[in-house]
Symmetry: none
Subunit: 130 residues, 4 copies
């Protein structure tokens, strides 16, 4: 489901968190759907359960997911966007970094915008009807 690169510099647990979020946006995971248990997920992806655990905890902290004791972990039914200043800055920094690196790869303004446009559309997948 989620492809992990163990050699990447981004921690595995972060890759899981990002992967789950991406899958939800793409409609591959539906609100209310049950995620595999920590142990199953760990076996499935041949990862250390502690790593998966850490990812689930962060997903819960971000309210992307809720865990019901004894039943499992589920994609949140209704995700309420949080827009605090910290988050806003974080996102801004990410994009800034991307833009800087893009410029240094020789992209110009228009090329960057097209690049991002394509990515956004790819990400929206099938689940948004606008």
């Amino acid at each position: 489901m989620i492809d992990i690169d163990v050699t990447s510099s981004t921690p595995i647990y972060t890759q899981i968190v990002d992967g789950v979020k991406e899958a939800i946006l793409k409609g591959l995971l539906e609100p209310g759907e049950k995620l595999p248990s920590v142990r199953d997920m760990a076996k499935l992806m041949t990862l250390n359960p502690n790593t998966v655990q850490k990812a689930y905890q962060q997903l819960e902290r971000e309210k992307v997911v809720v865990t019901v004791r004894g039943r499992g972990t589920f994609i949140s039914e209704e995700y309420k966007p949080r827009k605090d200043e910290d988050k806003m800055n974080e996102v801004k920094e990410i994009f800034k970094k991307g833009i800087i690196e893009a410029f240094y790869m020789g992209f110009d303004k228009q090329k960057i915008l097209n690049f991002v446009k394509n990515l956004v559309e790819e990400m929206e997948g099938l689940n948004k009807n606008d």
Copy 2:
């Protein structure tokens, strides 16, 4: 010149690297201009010289900067963009991450594109009005 957040999870030397690149794109640092010596920069930012050194070396590896023996470190006169596959993927992943987080903040497609557009123009320095 460059503001460092010592509490950030991104390493200090990376913040320096990013900061220099950003300053160049914004026109705050001109090609050919001399950067403060490793020691001076370290004093200026109250960092250890080794940390600054590491940043300068990475900048040189990326050809953003050249060091002239015995004289110091200078912004490259002409930077030739190199776009290998790895770099391309890196940039893509950065933007993907940004887009995902933006969606989770409640942004829709158009809002994201505008957000990025503004950032790009801010980064371009003087070319704001095209």
Copy 3:
């Protein structure tokens, strides 16, 4: 495993990098094989861990080696040669230097070529008899 000459003018970390590359070409280190951990290697060679670290990082930058989070550093499974112009020039300069010095030792053209031929075969490890 790798012999270091602390009196040499080539930095220790470079000697490690070269030593690892040589060991791989000679078949002494197999793709996928684990290198000693930074600390172990440092103890083994009575060096400071930072020095070994620097060598490992350069090897990773050159994709000779991959590091797997929490597990260690491994010889790359498949090394894809990258031959950018800079690298090409570097190699050319090395050989030029070697040739000049060889001439100054009284070698003629044929002697140099034989000398290099022997070295290449020595380096190739098992393919000595082709």
Copy 4:
């Protein structure tokens, strides 16, 4: 006459030494010919006289050049190749380094040998009649 790259990692004085040796082998500098004085050479190449001085001293140490007090510095009339073990090892190490890097650029044995052959012939220039 000799082109210096001030950004190179090889010291400038070494580049001068190598350059002079190369020029001699190529026949651009004849035995007995006078080299520009340290000060002239420094002006000519816009270098620090100390740097040129250091280069000349090393050339003299290697007996490539002789300086006659009050007259100047001249290319040695008869260069007697010295082949001590140290020099031999040095040259061997240079070639080994070159071969390793060539392999890592994807060259095979034959390609390396051809590469070196071409370089040798280029270096021999016009002054050797074999």
